[in-house]
């Protein structure tokens, strides 16, 4: 890829955003369709053939609906919140690979010059330029290639997404909105921890936070799913909580909170929140595919074509397929597991997932330090999981916070009669 070129980058960004937006649109349709199928219904089938134009109709509706702003809201933040939610979600996509990539060149080691005293920068620079030139000339299926802090950037922006929720809930000046956003903040902060910890093991193994490098490592050594299944599980669960998806959709639990932080939002503003949420789902689906499922690699299948264009398309398709698989899993899980109670949610994060991720990290460090086989970590992962299950089953530390018999009656209001 040549040097930075505004036009090309704009085209790529524009094209990618368009694709993501249509994926988001069709994700909503898929959500409704799959939900319908799971419930033995047909789902939306009136707009266009098989209901395929439904997202267009929905989008048109969001645009054309009257957009009232309640008089009691804090107008600036109220309007800012959906914009923030969507913008942040889209920004995170910048570093997430969507097609074939090559790892960026490693920093060039500077050797001593012939005199052995001064570093020979010119050679290093030369080599660096050559490596960079080669890297740039290769096609990279990512908007911003070669970002060293890649995964940290994604997490940073993912955490920012909470701002959309909190701003929306706060500025709405509505108790349901506020409760929803409070729940959301508590939930997202809690799950950030296992989310981040679960990924550290991967970073340790791959030796880079760059996503392309992580893919490349997996291409070489095998998917992280195989070596760190526990990390994947923790990552997936945390990501579900981050996305406010069932079984962790407490911030917008309709039965309890009307619409949660969305209560006061309508038309396009509601639509932007939804776009942000679905974009977040897409980002995280990409992340799961990339970090644990080998990205665009698929047991050598990705190298069937020698033609560079065909190969790029195939890699994008493999990665896209994995991503769509995770997107579907999101939807299916929604109708599989009922919503957690809030204390159960918190218990799960703090009593189970955080200790588990800490132990897992420790194990990963040990394996790395003593150079044990990667498979050792697989065994330790499974062992840890089973051990926690045993402890939970027999020691009652599981997130089972059912009110105890003796506690609650004292809390009931007592009125003296007579």
């Amino acid at each position: 890829m040549p040097e930075f070129d505004l036009l090309t980058t704009t085209i790529i960004i524009g094209g990618l955003v368009a694709i993501v937006m249509s994926i988001v649109g069709y994700a909503t349709l898929a959500e409704r369709k799959v939900s319908a199928w799971i419930q033995d219904r047909v789902g939306p089938n009136r707009v266009g053939p098989l209901g395929l134009l439904q997202p267009l109709a929905d989008g048109g509706k969001f645009f054309l609906k009257e957009s009232p702003i309640p008089s009691h809201v804090d107008k600036i933040f109220y309007l800012l919140a959906p914009a923030a939610a969507m913008a942040i979600a889209l920004l995170a996509l910048a570093v997430v690979p969507w097609g074939g990539t090559t790892p960026p060149p490693k920093p060039v080691a500077v050797n001593m010059a012939a005199d052995g005293k001064t570093p020979d920068y010119s050679k290093a620079v030369q080599r660096f330029d050559a490596e960079q030139g080669e890297y740039r000339n290769q096609f990279q299926g990512v908007i911003a290639p070669g970002l060293d802090i890649g995964i940290v950037y994604v997490f940073a922006l993912g955490s920012l997404a909470i701002y959309g929720v909190i701003l929306g809930g706060w500025s709405s000046d509505n108790k349901y909105s506020l409760l929803g956003s409070l729940r959301s903040s508590a939930q997202i902060i809690s799950y950030e921890i296992p989310l981040g910890m679960s990924i550290v093991g991967v970073v340790l193994f791959a030796g880079s936070m760059n996503l392309e490098t992580i893919i490349a490592w997996q291409k070489q050594n095998g998917w992280f799913l195989m070596f760190q299944p526990l990390a994947f599980l923790l990552f997936m669960v945390s990501v579900y909580a981050e996305c406010n998806r069932l079984p962790f959709d407490l911030p917008e639990a309709e039965q309890e909170l009307v619409g949660g932080y969305l209560t006061e939002y309508g038309s396009l503003k509601f639509g932007m929140f939804m776009l942000g949420e679905y974009t977040h789902m897409i980002t995280t689906s990409f992340l799961m595919s990339i970090v644990f499922w080998g990205g665009w690699s698929l047991f050598g299948l990705e190298e069937v074509f020698t033609d560079p264009i065909a190969a790029a398309v195939l890699k994008a398709a493999i990665l896209g397929g994995k991503m769509l698989g995770f997107l579907l899993l999101y939807i299916v899980i929604r109708w599989t597991i009922p919503r957690f109670r809030f204390d159960q949610l918190m218990g799960l994060a703090w009593k189970v997932m955080i200790p588990l991720s800490l132990l897992h990290l420790l194990a990963a460090m040990l394996v790395r330090q003593y150079g044990w086989s990667n498979w050792a970590l697989t065994a330790i992962s499974i062992g840890l999981f089973v051990a926690f299950g045993l402890v939970a089953a027999f020691k009652k530390i599981a997130p089972n916070n059912t009110p105890r018999r003796k506690v609650i009656p004292k809390m009931l209001p007592r009125v003296m009669v007579g």
Partner: protein
């Protein structure tokens, strides 16, 4: 009122075993169910393309039955109007026309407000001469409220239409007169 302690029934959550604590087997079980349903057959009836198969005792639009001589069977006893919980039936009774030897009273007007009606079928239960019946016609629409206030002629028209199309309600004892006109046959 505080809840009396004696009224509180404490139910312990069932204890989770090892496999349940692992969650994954249960999630797998659940996924089996939900994914199984994805490939199952849809139970949706695509009305209007697909006509619903209604049970023969479905309670739809009313009709006023005719007797063998094509006269309105109703004797204007007001039982339906009395039984109606929605007060949607309005009858004006009058002495039967001179030629009607078997009865003294008949409905001069008989109006049902189909919008007010809750289709409970009490009118049909109450009718001593099986004159009013709920048919299986379900697609009741109109452009105005007035259109859905059915008068005697319209209700008799529904009888003609449903008997012609062979969609008699099963509860109909067509032909068999009730006690009030029992003696007419005797």
């Amino acid at each position: 009122m505080p809840i009396a302690e004696s009224d509180i029934k404490w139910i312990e959550a069932p204890k989770l075993g090892f496999l349940e604590q692992l969650y994954l087997p249960i999630v797998y079980d659940g996924l089996k169910t939900t994914i199984g349903h994805i490939f199952g057959k849809s139970k949706t009836e695509s009305y209007p393309e697909q006509e619903p198969k209604l049970p023969p005792n479905y309670r739809g639009v009313h009709r006023l039955n005719r007797d063998e001589q094509d006269r309105v069977k109703c004797v204007a006893c007001y039982m339906c109007a009395t039984a109606c919980p929605a007060h949607c039936i309005d009858i004006v009774a009058a002495p039967a026309p001179a030629g009607w030897t078997d009865r003294e009273k008949y409905p001069e007007t008989f109006v049902i407000d189909e919008l007010r009606c809750i289709y409970c079928g009490m009118c049909e239960e109450a009718c001593p001469v099986d004159a009013i019946e709920l048919t299986t016609l379900y697609d009741l629409t109109g452009y105005s409220r007035e259109q859905l206030v059915f008068d005697k002629e319209k209700l008799l028209g529904i009888f003609d239409a449903t008997t012609k199309s062979g969609t008699d309600p099963v509860r109909s004892r067509s032909g068999a007169l009730g006690p009030a006109s029992e003696t007419a046959k005797a």
